[in-house]
Symmetry: C2
Subunit: 230 residues, 2 copies
DNA sequence: TAGATTGTTAATCGATTAACAATC
DNA sequence: TAGATTGTTAATCGATTAACAATC
């Protein structure tokens, strides 16, 4: 049971997740295999890179045909850890929290939201996606009893760091944070700060870039490292 | 009015957005400046890299003090395009759409959601975040009149590609897609596929990695390129 | 001053791309 | 067969890190 622990670089991980999404869609359209050129075109990357990734995944393709989707998806599932069933609690049941609780996409990837909590009494008792929103007082015991290791935070930005500290102290080892705050956690705890504004920034930047780059015969960059002339 | 059009690499863009978030928080705590070491520790990167980024941004720091937040934030605002005011429409007012409409974080970054649409008659007429949900029939005219260039899609996965095509044909140039589908758009149109499952995949992978890497004296990797032994 | 931190060049490292052979 | 596509090595490119000087 050897499990290598290469910290897959971010861009690679993003590609793999995108391959998964695209291959799934492609398969649902009735296709049996998928070409490197197809994936590459959709992701705007070099086909060679896709082939290299496939080789690294251990998937073998056939010239003129492509890679069998039935081989690609399980490999991606495995590498991405989507097969390991995982229970999580969700804290904060406002709009975003409710959306996440109802979001069908997670269970497909092995994530089961097993309980909902909210500090706001007005929200407790409500049922979302078949689960009753519980008061925070019950959270502690729930974590202990079910040995919860993962929490999804959709609570207000102001209290989310405190909440995270509290969860970590109670044994939670992975936090998926949707509040627009950068959480600090001790080593050994995994955190992902979702930061929607980051996505927005990327989009805005891209828009700006494509708009202000009409002429190909622009004055060549003075070979500095400045991101932009002041 | 020279605007260089360097396609800022993804990791850099992510760092910049994270700097923005952290520097903002740090400033709200009453600090006037921020150190490269502080940013580096939070992001788990090398301090040198932060300093290089700051230099590229054109921000000068002071030894023993750090970088003035009042200089850092405006530069980041500008590079990330957060200062350019931008109107967008939001299509799909389920839980996720509602959450996005109410999400306060966007307006702070220059994004104004100016209208909501939904194909479901049960949802039209409702008011979310001060805006009335309008039927899709009104969407076309709205785009034309207000020359909308950006759309946020929180519609069901099944119809979102068709929707995107339709929007692009009507002049929309940027799409922020929250449906778990990889959208294809013509060149010249900017799309960001938000893909929440990707975030999940990264988190799961990280969990898996840290869990299965207890011994440092593991058998050395056979110097292949395989992501994992089969 | 001493010490911490910034600034910057050079070295390293790794990821992407180019080229081309192999295969269906 | 011809043509398209995979597979793989070598070359390139760019990003990160190391080292150290400069500065408060």
């Amino acid at each position: 049971m050897h499990a290598s622990s290469l910290p897959l670089p971010r861009p690679l991980l993003e590609r793999l997740a995108a391959y998964h999404q695209i291959a799934t869609q492609h398969g649902e359209l009735g296709n049996v295999s998928i070409r490197s050129g197809h994936l590459a075109a959709l992701l705007d990357i070099d086909p060679t890179l896709v082939r290299k990734d496939m080789a690294a995944l251990g998937v073998v393709g056939r010239p003129k045909v492509g890679y069998p989707i039935s081989a690609v998806l399980p490999r991606l599932d495995h590498i991405l850890g989507l097969t390991d069933r995982k229970n999580a609690i969700l804290i904060g049941c406002g709009d975003l929290g409710s959306a996440l609780a109802r979001y069908g996409g997670f269970s497909k990837y092995g994530l089961q939201i097993s309980a909902l909590f909210d500090a706001d009494e007005a929200k407790t008792g409500r049922t979302i996606a078949g689960l009753t929103v519980q008061p925070m007082e019950k959270c502690r015991r729930y974590i202990e009893i079910f040995r919860i290791e993962m929490a999804i935070l959709a609570a207000p930005a102001g209290c989310v760091q405190e909440l995270a500290d509290w969860l970590v102290a109670r044994g939670v080892r992975a936090i998926w944070n949707f509040a627009p705050v950068h959480l600090k956690v001790p080593v050994g705890v995994v955190v992902r700060n979702e930061n929607l504004a980051l996505g927005l920034a990327q989009l805005l930047h891209e828009i700006k870039r494509t708009k202000t780059a009409p002429s190909l015969a622009e004055a060549p960059e003075p070979t500095g490292t400045r991101l932009e002339s002041a």
